[in-house]
């Protein structure tokens, strides 16, 4: 496991993130235009969805698909309660702030998922193609739980109409991920070969550029708002991934997923959203401090998962689910 961690640390992917953080902390003006950052994220979603679908098309679908989707949604629905309880224990945050953070941690970070897939592939660990769909299924339920917590505990929270729900369920990243998953499924191996020049060849390099940008954003966030990250909050940001990963390990093992699948289930549960949920929280819980949840998700938990978490989860999954 230690050698895996070292290898992870020396992967261009991780180093690119580190470079971004360092540049931002040193106050370099290195930055990506907003349009480029968005373009990179559209690319990653399209590619990862497509490859997931194509992999299903060639490996056949698995009886576990439905059960895994359900398990993912359930994890997303329940983890916010755990996160909320932990936050109330460890910190003095308001109900609204704690609930907002809990929503982030119940949901998932697709780029952590992408990085994990890539690092697993680099060690020849394959996973079920439909884990991409599971990722999509885990994005939204956590929001529901967080709003329910707020509704019960405080008078905050804006009451989310059907309109807001449609918006969350049809948010761009979910639609693109699932849409390209379906396209990959329909066109299969042949479709993959047709567009491998885009979705496979430059994939890892583009992931590096994306992580470089994420590093810059994370570093700038830490520099500007690092002070909101009190020790209790940071402790949560390091501990909650382990709690989530344990839940994911249990679920993945019970479902009988492959080692790679279990690892990804752990990664999803351990990761915290930094695109979809932040926007939803601005709409639904405007009183929550965005610097707090974003700083935590992007500045603490994301690097933790990227650098230490993924090798750790793989080791645990290998131990429990058996060698590959």
């Amino acid at each position: 496991m230690i050698s895996t961690a070292a290898e992870t640390l020396l992967s261009p992917i991780v180093l690119s993130f580190v470079l971004g953080v360092a540049a931002a902390l040193a106050r370099s003006d290195l930055s990506f235009p907003e349009a480029i950052a968005k373009g990179l994220s559209l690319y990653l979603l399209f590619a990862i969805g497509f490859k997931g679908g194509a992999s299903i098309a060639s490996h056949g679908i698995d009886g576990r698909l439905l059960a895994t989707l359900l398990a993912g949604a359930l994890l997303s629905l329940t983890l916010p309660f755990v996160a909320f309880a932990l936050l109330r224990l460890l910190t003095k945050l308001t109900v609204v702030d704690a609930a907002s953070i809990a929503a982030h941690y119940g949901s998932i970070s697709i780029v952590t998922f992408v990085a994990a897939t890539t690092l697993l592939a680099g060690q020849n660990v394959e996973a079920e193609g439909y884990m991409v769909a599971v990722a999509a299924a885990m994005e939204a339920p956590a929001i529901l739980s967080a709003l329910w917590i707020v509704a019960r505990r405080s008078r905050g929270g804006e009451g989310m109409g059907a309109d807001v729900w449609r918006e969350i369920l049809l948010n761009g990243s979910i639609v693109l991920l699932l849409g390209s998953f379906v396209i990959g499924w329909l066109t299969g191996e042949r479709g993959l070969q047709e567009i491998a020049g885009l979705v496979v060849v430059p994939f890892k390099g583009i992931l590096c550029l994306f992580l470089l940008d994420m590093g810059i954003v994370a570093g700038r966030g830490l520099r500007a708002n690092g002070s909101v990250l009190t020790p209790g909050v940071i402790l949560f940001g390091l501990g909650m991934p382990l709690v989530g990963a344990t839940a994911g390990l249990a679920a993945g093992t019970v479902l009988g997923l492959s080692t790679g699948g279990v690892t990804l289930m752990m990664v999803l549960s351990a990761s915290a959203s930094y695109i979809a949920v932040p926007a939803a929280m601005r709409v639904a819980l405007p009183e929550a401090n965005p610097a707090l949840s974003l700083g935590l998700a992007l500045g603490i938990t994301f690097p933790f998962n990227l650098i230490l978490g993924i090798p750790l989860y793989l080791a645990a999954a290998t131990l429990v689910a058996g060698g590959q």
């Binding site: 235009p33 907003e34 950052a37 965005p290």
Partner: protein, 103 residues
């Protein structure tokens, strides 16, 4: 050239609220508005800028509405309902417009 008095209302609001704001304005009978991008800013909640961001959570937009003076109150009520709990500032200036029949 003939010009007509009007009010120029400029609402700087979170990007996630853009659609809600414009919807509310339309419902209040505001027939026209223009949305300008905003790249950064600072206020009580600190400094932000859009570089390298991919989500809409941290950006803002500026919405400009030119309206007949008598419609100002309706517009402000509508805008306030949306801005109220959210980050944002509203300013109004006296203006003259061409082609008043359009407003």
């Amino acid at each position: 050239m003939e010009t007509h008095p009007a009010k120029r209302v400029e609402i700087i609001i979170e990007a996630v609220m853009e659609r809600r704001l414009t919807q509310t304005l339309s419902d209040a009978g505001v027939t026209g508005y223009t949305v300008l991008p905003v790249t950064g800013g600072s206020g009580r909640s600190g400094y932000w800028n859009r570089e390298g961001q991919i989500g809409r959570a941290s950006g803002m937009v500026a919405v400009i509405c030119l309206i007949r003076p008598e419609k100002l109150d309706a517009l402000l009520e509508a805008a306030f309902a949306v801005v109220d709990r959210h980050i944002g500032v509203v300013n109004i200036t006296d203006a003259q417009i061409l082609r008043a029949e359009r407003f």
